[in-house]
Symmetry: D3
Subunit: 240 residues, 6 copies
């Protein structure tokens, strides 16, 4: 069963496209075809509610285009899940945020999960993922979000240092009760196995989980409930 | 104490401005000066997550401008509270969404509140207000959101019919346990006294409550916690 | 990637095996091989905590055997998820209960799901699924379990009558707020499309969802957290 | 709009009256007139459920008198909110407890608040405020109550020592996740700015918040829902 | 093991004493001696927060006297549990409210309980029991409090009419999901068997349950945790 | 009133019988007769979901036999409460798990309880008791389960060492907020007084609490709600 999936990386730059596509390609079904796109306007990375605000209508635009162009599903490739609820209203094909997919699987695999997030020096447990988890109804299962204090745009510079920070942050979260860890960024790739081996807990790479979930939904003929996310009337004129 | 408050009606049309200003003028402190603005782009009314998506960056733009121009506080005048969390991050002056202000006061005045919302024929208990209430932590106190099935843009046509629908919907919500009602739209004005008299429960007009809350915060020298809503690094280039 | 999955139908009869295998075969990945087994002792169908008690150690026995014999994953094919937590402790390969898989997906696809269960004339909202949902942390998202009052062993007799009962029960649950429905039995197959078309909500067939989840976990190299479900010391002598 | 507000300091001594009146006078609206009263019987300070028990009927007596004498609103000036629910039943004018007002505003301004309370050496997180927060439905948003181990009657002796204790206790609470602090006593005045400057979180002075809330309710024509707090039949004879 | 238990009926009238003593006598252990007392001041029946306020200090007075006079335990014989938390602080002997004892047992015997309360025509689900259940942490297990609209002082007039009202109210609560019923009044005695036979659910008589719990605590050497309910400093002068 | 209570120690060995019987004998009512039994098959001690799985049908068998043989109540003497929900469905006489009885009393006596459990070196807060507490609805009141890292079968070897471990673990739990401690094992007897004296919190011995609860239920004519735990149809053939 052919599955054409649009991967929307909701930033105004293509710099992550190749790495993301390469990572997803190793995990996709042979019958899945992936198409990676970016936004025409916005901001180059999303780490806060503030960042997220700039990309929301342009993300929705890309999601609308994906359905119009015949895709069977769409991924919003950012753990902050920007514009996700709007996309679920507007589209009939399954739209999967990589944040929501990762958080639901984390809640499923253990009793309490934590998120390890890049991001500048924020306090513990703030930001869009933390608020979204309340909307998704998984608040009780989430120990918290721990920032690594590395800007997303610097993640590639010194990968051993990033791994070391992941291990330290992960240990702290396991001590607080976490038994599953979620990497809170779509481009934090390739360190998950070593982190999992050191801490002995599952480590979830959100984009991969979202891909498998989207493929599964397409194969099962399922999508977001239109009763929970009813189609909006499209008769208002939008200016953008 | 002079309080200069910017009232952002987050739509791309000025059609509501006069009615809103007139209503707030009757409730403002003598020392408050109100300035009503709209968005340069977006959509003419916000009833769904889909609608909300189009106005978010432009609402944030107006909020940033309000602080730059020396306002002491800002209201986001829509019960869906678009861009609210982003504004709370970006600004140091108090930013009050009329939705959040109404929901907290409703939770305070009784045990369980309900929202009566205009909006086209949606199912029970969907839409941005319902999801926001989870983020605000008031889910247990909210009986649900009941749509009146009137498009916002038609609210002024037949006010007796609107009142009748409000009474019917309100009765149903009281029967489900509500003891306070919130009018789920910023421009549903002037019917609250008759509704409250018929149903014998407090009826909350969100814009007025938000105004009084914003004035109080300014007078008390308080605003959103910057630990909960940390200032974003502004060094990323935004394209809009 | 070859995925050998053992499907444990936890009853002491093979009468469901062919129908289950046939249904799963249409949804499995081309690289998945399915092996259906039953229990050496127990009871012919599981509808209550009482029924479930008789099959628990024999289900665990089959799960242990699956791992010993080199399977990559195991399904416990009963929405009551008998012996599931014990299996998650005992095994390193992913063990997926069809109940838990269905409930997590239902919580993901909408805001509130309901379960339509066969079963004799029980009161509303009792039985093993209802208690398990508390353990899985999805209580807030579950509207309830509605019994159809049909013994599992009679499901095949008059399928139009079963569909009619599903539609009536589903309508009632949608009115209570459900926006996703879960078929609360592994052998209630082939009616889901018509039910979904009538009620306009997603209808989840648990076995299929569990299959796709188990395949995804194997492909992603994930399984239940051994910190949440630690390996028991096997040094106690069991008599069975 | 004239607002006559009775401030009931629910103790059998006038020793706090002047300080409270002076503090509230700086924050009241020009159109508000404040009248401070005490109880005819009771106890000189309220720090525990035990203390609170002695003042309850006498606080209710004063609240009844306030309404009879034509006040537009009443404050119960103690963070334990003694007799508050009884007053809300008995009165039609708004009755605001300074505890409840502070806790709702704290929940509004951040994600998680903590209370810094004087009081003798109690364990963490006990006492009337802690139990009231469950009744108000704000349990999830409250990190806890931290006692300073200073009897209320000693608060004025060494204010620098009190500030030092507030900073230490506040730091501990921020580390536990608090992003807003509430001063858990009506007479802990004048230290809030320095505390807020050191810890960089909003610090709430309950009496001031209650005053602004009460003024707002009067101006908006709102009060506690009589459906949540129905008028008791007054036909039973009380002996006091 | 001798168990001397003081039964405090927290009203200013002895009219219920004989009926209560007679009822408890049939259920007490042979080694228990019961002593029934009333308050020196207050109100003749407790149905609201307002009523409760008048009896609180006088109830505490009686509880203090019970411990001073060597009792091994005390019951507060009113389902509103007046002064209970204050008594738990002040005393080292077990103090059991008949409300709390009934609610905990109801939560234990089923999944969801309801309270059938006398009381004049109140709305559904208001009053002291409803708020106390939040403090006790049993909110999720309580379907609600249904008033019978009979003043407590009229309960003895027409017992068949009372039974009829109990059956109607009980049926409604069972339909809402209750599987255990609590009689929300200490003097609603002698109808429980017929009610239980008609509705086929356990019916809890609070006073009896509290008696057995108090006896059990005394025999097991247990009482309220003094860490949860620390002894207040008694050094403040009380005027009453 | 004669109360014949069957004590089912759900293991396949009689080694604990004498100690348990001796302990319960000191607390039983003079009118209670106790009968201790074991299982015909299973495992010698229950510390995990895995262990529990082996004993479930054989525990249910003994419970069925207890009712058939005319007992008035039954205890399942293991804090994991194996087969408890199945027994509550199958029987009309009260069946009390020593775990559930202890957890409900712990929730009643304080605000937050913790469990001190023997068991090999498990992570914090895993195992059957932890999951059961969610089913019982007491999750909010439970701070967690702390393993002592002593196999149950070694508890008798060095009792001073066990006491020392209990004190250390108890201190940690009190620091986390526990104000009541539950001994998480039915054969951890005789150390509770010293532990309680050191930590100044109530220490609950589950078997004794369950005995008193079972006696109370029998005397009050109460048992598990058959609406919550409906009688299963017994017409299916079981093979064991």
């Amino acid at each position: 069963m052919l599955k054409r999936i649009r991967v929307i990386i909701p930033v105004n730059t293509p710099i992550w496209n190749q790495a993301v596509l390469q990572d997803l390609d190793s995990f996709k079904s042979p019958e899945t075809s992936l198409e990676v796109v970016n936004l025409k306007k916005g901001i180059p990375s999303v780490e806060t509610h503030f960042d997220e605000a700039w990309v929301i209508p342009f993300t929705l635009e890309e999601a609308l285009k994906a359905e119009e162009e015949g895709c069977h599903g769409a991924l919003i490739y950012c753990t902050a899940d920007p514009a996700l609820l709007a996309c679920k209203e507007a589209l009939r094909i399954p739209v999967v945020g990589i944040g929501e997919a990762a958080f639901f699987l984390a809640a499923y695999l253990g009793k309490r999960f934590a998120i390890l997030s890049p991001g500048p020096s924020l306090p513990f447990d703030v930001g869009p993922e933390v608020d979204n988890i309340k909307v998704y109804g998984l608040e009780k299962q989430c120990v918290g979000l721990k920032p690594l204090e590395i800007p997303v745009l610097d993640l590639e510079r010194d990968r051993e240092a990033v791994l070391e920070k992941l291990i330290q942050a992960g240990k702290e979260m396991v001590k607080r009760g976490a038994d599953v860890l979620v990497l809170g960024c779509g481009v934090l790739l390739g360190l998950e196995k070593r982190l999992s081996a050191v801490l002995q807990v599952p480590v979830i790479v959100p984009g991969r989980v979202a891909l498998k979930l989207c493929e599964s939904l397409i194969e099962l003929g399922l999508a977001q409930s239109k009763r929970a996310f009813p189609l909006p009337g499209f008769n208002k004129e939008v200016t953008l």
